[in-house]
């Protein structure tokens, strides 16, 4: 039995997950079930950071992965992000790196710049 604080919403339900049967208890809503199962088997996170941008209003462009990536790949993706440079103009949602570090997620711009 593993215990997690659910982070799907600010309520923070205390989930108990049976890793073998994959049953979740303590969830206040249906989204907690999926979160609890994933957290026990393959925890995922959305990664946000910034990349260098030339010719923009600021020196850094905020970026994010479009979908959550496995928690274990956060630093692999950061290594790729550290080497990423882009030029203005960039449109919010524009893909900067496809399938970043083989995670299956794209790195996209968080804003226009």
């Amino acid at each position: 039995m593993k215990e997690f604080i659910c982070t799907v919403c600010p309520r923070g339900c205390r989930l108990k997950v049976d890793e073998k049967k994959l049953t979740v208890t303590g969830n206040g809503c249906i989204r907690g079930i999926e979160y609890g199962k994933n957290e026990a088997v393959n925890p995922k996170r959305i990664l946000t950071s910034t990349v260098s941008i030339e010719g923009g209003l600021h020196r850094r462009l905020p970026v994010r992965t479009d979908i959550a990536i496995p928690k274990s790949m956060l630093f692999d993706c950061m290594a790729v992000i550290h080497g990423c440079k882009t030029k203005s103009p960039v449109i919010a949602g524009q893909v900067l790196i496809e399938n970043i570090a083989g995670s299956g997620a794209n790195l996209i711009a968080s804003r226009n710049m």
């Binding site: 309520r11 923070g12 905020p62 968080s110």
Partner: protein
């Protein structure tokens, strides 16, 4: 002198939502005054995700959340003055501004919305002892250096305060290659959201020391050591519990203060509990035609709530303008008071017989509790009650009281918590 129907002071999440809402409620002559070089306010440096879950049902980053409002505002007739600092305001709604294009100029508006947000508490008010070397930042300024300007503020950091910005910065610095040695929190519980404890500390194995505070700082030029100690139940450091950390950076995440200098200049009464203006249920301050919303009114946990509160302020300001600027506060009002376990309420005053069917009240509780009942009472009479599974000081609570129940009340009402048991 420039004349507008509505002037919004601040172009962050509160100002944006208020201006858009006023436009949608029929106001065409609007000016938004923003001191930064762009709209969006603090959202621009909050590059992490988690914004908009309530409002849009998806996890946006700060810039993404801001962009939705900025693009919506650009479709309205509102005029935006960037790089423009408001330096004066009076109760007749004359606003003194300064920018580098026009110098000093005055704006007169039929209604004003205060949306200046808040700023961080720093080293002074919490009386941090020790040397005054460089490397001590408020968490939000470190966030700006990092996310907007592209500077890593240090390599080895200790963070004092477990507010959300401190937690977010712990993750951010770790991802960028710095080592975060510890987060120290004076109180026995964190004021941050659960999701931030999990995703910013637990994910990276960063220890959270509850009931601890910084008791010494060493470093003449750059910081080189921070000492933290455990505190007793009176929050006094306990000798012998010192832990030393060799570090070059100390981030302070020790609270936010609504930025109400202009509010004070206009002699608008401030509530010492919220550090924001006293407002009626229409978000209007004691000064006629001046409304307030967002973090300048009280510090919110989630921007989603700032947006909805500000939309209400925008709508009510629009009604005030189109209704010929007649204040409804001439009518009888009742006060909302803190009952047992409640720290503050917004609004603080309610107009009896106001136009809405229900009264929305935001409040914060003093301590964590489970299976509690929130009671609204007047004298000995209980007007209405609400069940809550879980209450925590870190999370703003909201109740909606049907107006019908307030009809025969002419004294004050109080909101209190009957706890099922503290956690």
């Amino acid at each position: 002198m420039l004349k507008y129907d509505l002037a919004v002071i601040g172009g962050g999440p509160a100002g944006l939502a208020a201006a858009i809402s006023a436009y949608e409620n029929g106001i065409r002559s609007i000016v938004v005054l923003e001191r930064d070089v762009e709209l969006g306010g603090i959202l621009n440096q909050c590059i992490h995700n988690g914004f908009g879950l309530h409002r849009f049902g998806e996890e946006l980053t700060g810039p993404q959340y801001a962009e939705r409002f900025i693009s919506k505002l650009s479709e309205t007739s509102a005029r935006v003055l960037l790089g423009t600092m408001v330096i004066g305001l009076n109760s007749d709604r004359y606003i003194t501004c300064v920018n580098k294009y026009d110098g000093v100029f005055t704006i007169q508006a039929k209604a004003v919305i205060l949306a200046m947000g808040c700023r961080e508490r720093n080293r002074g008010p919490i009386g941090l002892p020790g040397d005054r070397g460089s490397g001590i930042f408020s968490a939000g300024s470190a966030q700006r250096y990092m996310n907007i300007d592209g500077y890593l503020v240090g390599r080895r950091a200790v963070i004092l305060g477990s507010g959300d910005i401190g937690l977010i910065m712990a993750r951010r610095m770790t991802l960028e290659g710095a080592k975060v040695l510890a987060v120290a929190e004076l109180m026995p519980h964190s004021n941050g959201l659960n999701r931030n404890i999990v995703q910013c500390l637990d994910d990276f194995g960063i220890p959270l020391y509850l009931s601890h505070t910084v008791t010494d700082i060493f470093g003449k030029n750059r910081l080189d050591k921070v000492v933290i100690s455990q505190v007793d139940d009176r929050l006094k450091p306990i000798p012998g519990t010192e832990k030393e950390f060799d570090c070059d950076t100390l981030l302070l995440s020790v609270g936010l203060i609504p930025e109400n200098e202009l509010t004070r200049t206009a002699e608008i009464p401030i509530d010492f509990r919220t550090n924001g203006a006293v407002v009626y249920d229409d978000m209007q301050t004691e000064s006629e035609g001046i409304f307030a919303c967002g973090n300048v009114l009280h510090v919110h946990d989630l921007v989603d709530f700032v947006s909805s509160e500000s939309e209400k302020a925008g709508k009510k300001a629009a009604e005030y303008i189109t209704g010929g600027c007649v204040s409804i506060h001439k009518a009888a009002t009742i006060d909302i008071k803190n009952g047992n376990g409640v720290v503050y309420t917004v609004p603080q005053k309610v107009v009896i017989g106001g136009p809405e069917k229900s009264l929305e009240v935001f409040f914060r509780v003093r301590e964590k509790s489970e299976k509690s009942i929130v009671e609204v009472s007047s004298g000995n009479r209980i007007i209405s009650s609400f069940k809550r599974e879980f209450l925590a000081p870190g999370e703003m609570e909201r109740i909606v009281i049907p107006r019908k129940l307030l009809e025969n009340i002419n004294e004050s009402i109080a909101i209190s918590v009957k706890s099922g048991g503290t956690v």
